[in-house]
C-alpha cells in the first residue's frame, strides 16, 4: 500500500482536545485492519506524547506516516526543552504542577510508557528550543 500521512496541530493548553489526535490515528489504523497489539502500542505512545506536548511543551505538531511495515510518529514542540533527559525517562519523575496532577497526570510514567510501547525511540531536546520525539512501531 502507499504510505498514509497524517498531520495534527496540538494546541497548548486545550486538555479537552488532548487525545483527539491519538484517537484519530487509532481509528485510521483500525480501518486499515492493523492488529490490535500494534494499535495499542501506537495509541499509548502517541497519547502520552500528545499530552506531554500540551502539558509541558506548549503545544506543537505531530506527523504520522503509516507504511506497510511500520508506523512512524514525529512529535515536535518549541517548548522549554528537557533539562535532564535521564531523569525525565525515570519512572515516577515528574515536574507536573498540582493543578495538572489533580487531573490525573503527573505519575511520571509517560516517557517510560512511550519507550516501552515503541520499537524505535529517539528524544531530541534542547533548552529553550524544544523537544522532538521520533518514534516507530513495527506492524505485528
Amino acid at each position: 500500500m502507499d504510505s498514509i500521512k497524517l498531520h495534527y496541530d496540538i494546541s497548548a493548553t486545550d486538555f479537552t482536545r488532548a487525545g483527539a489526535a491519538s484517537g484519530d490515528v487509532k481509528r485510521t489504523l483500525k480501518a486499515l485492519g492493523v492488529s490490535p497489539a500494534t494499535i495499542r502500542n501506537v495509541a499509548v505512545a502517541m497519547y502520552e506524547g500528545e499530552i506531554n506536548m500540551v502539558i509541558h511543551g506548549g503545544g506543537g505538531v505531530i506527523d504520522v506516516e503509516i507504511t506497510e511495515d511500520a508506523i512512524r510518529m514525529v512529535l515536535a514542540d518549541q517548548g522549554p526543552g528537557i533539562e535532564n533527559v535521564e531523569l525525565a525517562m525515570k519512572e515516577g519523575y515528574s515536574t507536573a504542577p498540582d493543578n495538572i496532577r489533580a487531573l490525573g497526570f503527573g505519575a511520571g510514567m509517560g516517557l517510560p510508557n512511550i519507550k516501552k510501547y515503541t520499537d524505535e525511540f529517539q528524544l531530541d531536546t534542547a533548552l529553550g528550543v524544544g523537544t522532538t520525539l521520533t518514534l516507530k512501531v513495527f506492524m505485528k
Partner: protein, 109 residues
C-alpha cells in the same frame, strides 16, 4: 460476562451507554492516567474516581470495556458528552474500588 450483566449483578448505575454487550475480561484499578494507560488491558473494567475528559480518552485508547466511577465520584459534563460521542460506557456506584473489585472477581469467568 457482559457489561450489562455486570451492571445488574453489582448494582451499578448507568451514566453513559456504550456497547453493553461487550465482554468484561478483567479489572484494573487506578487514578493516575499514564499508569492506567500503560497497564490496563483491552476488555478491563476500569475502576477509578477520575471522571474527567482525559479519563474518557484513556478508556478509548486502552479499549477497556467500561469505566466504573467508584464512591460516587463526579463525572464532568464535558466528559459525559465525549463518552457518549465515543461510545464509552460509564457506570457509577457508591462502593469503593476494593468492594467492587472483590465482587467482580467472584463473578467474572
Amino acid at each position: 460476562m457482559t457489561v450489562q450483566a455486570m451492571m445488574e449483578q453489582l448494582d451499578l448505575r448507568l451514566l453513559t451507554g456504550g456497547d453493553l454487550s461487550r465482554e468484561v475480561t478483567g479489572c484494573y484499578c487506578g487514578d493516575l492516567l499514564s499508569w492506567v494507560m500503560g497497564k490496563a488491558q483491552e476488555g478491563d473494567c476500569w475502576l477509578t474516581v477520575m471522571g474527567n475528559i482525559n479519563a474518557v480518552a484513556v478508556a478509548v485508547l486502552t479499549d477497556c470495556a467500561c469505566i466504573v466511577l467508584t464512591e460516587n465520584a463526579a463525572l464532568d459534563e464535558n466528559a459525559k458528552a465525549r463518552a457518549e460521542q465515543q461510545g464509552v460506557t460509564i457506570l457509577t456506584t457508591a462502593e469503593s474500588a476494593y468492594q467492587i473489585a472483590v465482587k467482580l472477581s467472584a463473578v467474572i469467568a
